[in-house]
Subunit: 331 residues, 2 copies
């Protein structure tokens, strides 16, 4: 049996309340002399606090939960790093729960876990929650925020990039570099993210008076394989002169397949990616991208959750930027 606060109290000849106060650092509620003694005894006995009991009694936990989709994309690490950056400084623990990909069962399970553990807040990363999970999260009253999934108003507060702007800016960039026939690859038409980006794309094309051939839009789910498949769809003599890929990985799929067709990137085809993770810098050619600041998304999300004035959390978009690298060229 583990050493409890009671054992410590006994050994130190004080009451459990005193031990509790000392060990949880309720300043100004004990003599520093007693404190030293208690702490020593606790250490000697190898006391480890039981967080469950403490949380139960105090009705508060210091745990932040991150629910994350096991996405095939790779930006999650940066978001998590950002979350840790502020959580650590604030003394919070963070636990991460994977929720699979489009897997309602796993999602429900993850959400159930966080509710049952009554964590102090939930960060939902790159995940569009099912109705059931969402509503139980809402009724639980646990503060939560969506990261990197801006969504319809009623979904809840979010911090993300503006996906409409992403689609728009990428397209505009290519148009201004002389491209008129632009493919859009790997978008999930069912998702808010995907539709937003597509709308942005169409808007930019329209703004420049460019017609869109529906054949240029090849759906998918952010994967490498989606890129390959899409490029196969365009074929060895693609009509498009430039392609926007829905993720860095998808862009790589496009480029690899293009290369297999003997097409040079960017000489014969420009490819641009969305995300701008490290992959864009290690791959050759380096990949021009719409870069999102995932680290800051993580930081801001965590900060918003921790911010304890009881105003509701403000949703917001963080800036994106276009980083030119070597996979695109002026036509």
């Amino acid at each position: 049996m583990r050493v409890t606060i009671k054992d410590v109290a006994q050994a130190a000849n004080v009451s459990v309340s005193t031990v509790s106060r000392v060990l949880s650092n309720k300043e100004n509620f004990f003599a520093s002399k007693t404190a030293d003694h208690v702490r020593k005894v606790a250490a000697d006995l190898g006391y480890q606090r039981n967080a469950y009991a403490a949380d139960l009694a105090s009705h508060q936990s210091d745990v932040l939960a991150v629910v994350i989709s096991a996405t095939k994309s790779n930006f999650a690490d940066e978001i998590i790093a950002g979350i840790h950056d502020v959580a650590t400084k604030n003394g919070n623990s963070v636990m991460i729960l994977y929720a699979g990909e489009n897997n309602p069962t796993l999602q429900d399970k993850a959400i159930k876990t966080v509710i049952e553990r009554d964590v102090m807040g939930v960060l939902i990363v790159a995940l569009e929650l099912g109705d059931e999970s969402l509503s139980s999260l809402k009724t639980s009253g646990i503060p939560h925020i969506f990261l990197s999934t801006a969504a319809k108003e009623n979904l809840g507060p979010f911090i993300a990039s503006d996906d409409h702007a992403i689609g728009y800016e990428a397209t505009k960039y290519l148009i201004e570099h002389g491209h008129h026939k632009i493919g859009l690859v790997g978008m999930d038409e069912q998702s808010f993210v995907g539709t937003q980006r597509m709308t942005g794309y169409r808007e930019a094309m329209a703004e420049y008076g460019l017609a869109v051939n529906e054949d240029w839009l090849v759906p998918g789910y952010f994967t490498f394989e989606d890129g390959e498949t899409a490029m196969a769809h365009f074929g060895k003599q693609p009509e498009v002169t430039a392609i926007i890929a829905n993720s860095d990985l998808t862009a790589i799929g496009v480029i690899d397949q293009a290369r297999d067709y003997g097409l040079e990137v960017p000489a014969q085809l420009s490819v641009m990616s969305i995300d701008g993770t490290k992959l864009t810098r290690i791959f050759r050619p380096t990949i021009t991208s719409v870069t999102q600041d995932f680290f800051q998304i993580g930081r801001a999300g965590c900060a918003a959750l921790l911010n304890d004035d009881n105003e509701p959390i403000q949703s917001k978009f963080l800036p994106i930027k276009i980083v030119e690298r070597n996979s695109t060229r002026q036509l």
Copy 2:
């Protein structure tokens, strides 16, 4: 205030123990009629169980903790997927805790968290724990296992690849393909993993009567940048004809830098990586690798922890294999 078991009991006109038994499915200890009623009432009231209270009372949790280094390498995802694969089937929750990189403070914090929460088991992934963390984990009595970090005997049970064999096999493969001057890049000489791989390398070289130039051994920490730096060290006219890189990312760094020097891979330089994650397949040239089965490491580790016969956990190595791709050639 949340709905508790007590509220349900009251509303359903039964005792709390009955509710408890029904809701935690203690078969054969209640009438199915009562059960249906209780469940309905619970659902109507929106009851959510409090896992802390339950764990506290029952002294057992269904949570597995994964403590993982925020490594710059990228195999962790596969291990985690493997862990989830068996944990999910077994009905366990898994929480992931990041422990930074060579960051004793964060490690201690993570270990402290798992001990305080008295999880049912801990999987330590790609992490060589500091002495303090390790000993508190040991005295806590919580079952734990090291994944992908085979280590000195007294460290604890592990499931991993045999790093000595990795170094040996990679070297042997290159030697048998005609290479006599072989670089070894990105090894952390302080770590067990690194030293094991280096020993394997030396052993293979010796076995074939090949001399080792100490200049061919360039240390590092698995990163892309380590690969670049190491290649810069070898220069535009490298003495070595082949390089073994400590991770896929490191191999990419080597290849990128070689390319910047105008060296063709594999025509002028063969490069082989250790790990064999997806990166080796999406990068061009595809990278010949010593491939580890990370998914199985995750699965086996989780299974070992869950296996409740009270025999101690058996350490073991999982097989590795060499997968030929396009970054190496016969000399």
